[in-house]
Subunit: 347 residues, 2 copies
């Protein structure tokens, strides 16, 4: 039995590391981070809309953001935007939407994707996703995407692969965010990849994995099963969803399940997790300044990322490697290297 | 014959060194530079209102700024706000208002003052001005104020005095802005003072000085004399004033006339000519940060001057000795030491 392909975009994050550009009221995925006219969520939708029909795209978000998602993604069916009443990390999110899709298509084949990452080589991304969907449709397997390692990054999880001739290779182990020394080793070894947080698996595999490794989460959605798709759904979800443990799917399932595969890929991926990573992704001019939203006058200034409301006149002199960002009458000036302090400022 | 005392506030400047706080449309004298609720012009008026009646205070400004002056100084008689049709430096400005006042009071005794300086010891300022007015009422003399030299400043003109036991001493010479080496010598010699641009003289001395040293300027106002105070005044001034040479009173008269005196004084004076001088004037906290208009969050930041619209939230991390200023949707970030470049940014 082979079902249709589905995409689930997980858009419930509340990251504050891009403050003041992103805030708890409007997190990063809803922001036009690149100043290109499309938010990261919209760009994620656009990437997938090329390989599955819009009606097969689902979004799971927080109750607070349902309105933003609806307004940013008018082509997504209303009933395909699911609202979590509280944050419980990725495992309950995946179970909720999977139990929903399973009722419509018991052989559904689903990609789960973060909503706030950047991909610069979209055709290659689509090829990788399509191949992964073919793979997971045929096998009781979970395919994760492994990103080529360019630097000894300590901010990402890693995936170690087993030697294999195939494009999609068996996973040896998932590795948590390493320290600098370990990250160097991972990079040099050549068989480690960054975990991009994208998973492709079919709904039978999902259901079986939850029943095996997260019976408490499976139980919550079994109890909800009768009301899913009815007018009582939201009320029941609001009541029972909070019973789920807060746990990531990596930790809950990926690190335990057999038959996990990784697709080592390179499609210009960035998680844009911090101002620094956004700067690294976009800096190309000789002065390494990145300007979004405005064209400031920059004098004797290098390595800066400037993100200001359109129409603002900005003059910057003598600034090197700083973030200068403004939104909603809030201005931040901060050394890029000190950006981990931003989460304190945003409180 | 002894006339009344008058004050003339010269408020026609168009300085751009405080950009973006000050602009050609609203120069420094019209700005609440200190965030105290009063503009520099208003603070100048307040200082003098303690020693002469408000109806004896006159303001000369540019035609463009007459409306601003009227709104900022509602207690100044309308007809005492004179509008120059174009900039001709201080000598024509002084002649214009003096020819006007002379018609009302042929023995008028007048203080001329810039509108954009700061004085922190107002009682001492008033004592110095009152003493100077007494002096110039009795003598055919010009009294200038000489400010105590605290540092080898290259941005000010200097006045050298002749040794004298009196509080008001004869001037030896006016000195143009020196280079650093010369400024050091001036400071060490002990008989040099900064020229604060404040002059006290009676109207007979003024008239005689112009007839002797600036006959072309005197001639312009002699031709205007018949219409001064009539409905035709502004039209005639607009036509003839531009004939005046553009020249400072220092250069036109002070450097040539005999009987010039200086009153060495110390009343917490600053010309606030630049962001740096404003910072120097106001920095007192241990971190040497000066914040006007807002209370920003400052982390690992020292020696900065932050001037932002009230209500703005500002977070600054890792910035040392910078200007951060915003007005009318224009943001400037600039090293204080590089502030001479600001005039280029403001164009």
């Amino acid at each position: 039995m082979t079902g249709a392909n589905y995409v689930v975009i997980m858009a419930g994050g509340v990251g504050s590391r891009f403050w003041p550009m992103s805030t708890a009221e409007c997190p990063k995925q809803f922001i036009d981070v690149l100043g290109c006219g499309r938010t990261l969520l919209q760009m994620t939708f656009d990437r997938f809309a090329g390989i599955v029909p819009a009606e097969n795209i689902w979004v799971v978000t927080s109750k607070n953001y349902k309105g933003i998602v609806k307004s940013q993604l008018p082509d997504v069916t209303d009933s395909h935007i699911l609202a979590e009443p509280c944050m419980r990390n990725t495992a309950p999110c995946i179970a909720y939407v999977s139990w929903k899709i399973k009722k419509l298509d018991a052989a559904a084949n689903i990609v789960f994707s973060p909503s706030d990452h950047l991909v610069t080589d979209v055709p290659e991304f689509r090829r990788v996703i399509s191949r992964s969907l073919d793979f997971s449709a045929r096998l009781h397997a979970i395919v994760t995407l492994g990103m080529k390692v360019f630097r000894p990054e300590t901010g990402y999880g890693y995936i170690a692969v087993l030697p294999d001739e195939e494009e999609i290779k068996p996973v040896e182990a998932f590795k948590e965010k390493p320290n600098k020394e370990l990250a160097e080793k991972y990079m040099q070894s050549g068989n480690y990849y960054w975990n991009a947080g994208v998973f492709v698996w079919n709904v039978q595999t999902i259901e079986k994995s939850f029943r095996t490794y997260c019976p408490d989460i499976a139980s919550v959605f079994d109890r909800l099963d009768a009301v899913l798709g009815t007018d009582s759904e939201q009320e029941a979800v609001d009541r029972l969803f909070p019973e789920c443990p807060s746990i990531s799917v990596d930790y809950a399932i990926m690190e335990k399940a057999p038959d996990i595969y990784v697709f080592p890929a390179d499609f210009g991926w960035s998680d844009l997790g911090t101002w620094g990573s956004l700067h690294r992704q976009l800096a190309s001019a000789a002065d390494e300044n990145v300007c979004i939203g405005v064209q400031p006058t920059l004098v004797d200034s290098t390595g800066c990322i400037v993100h200001m409301p359109a129409g603002k006149k900005v003059v910057i002199e003598g600034l090197h490697n700083y973030i200068v960002a403004e939104k909603d009458n809030t201005l931040l000036i901060c050394r890029i290297e000190d950006e981990q302090q931003i989460k304190d400022f945003s409180k």
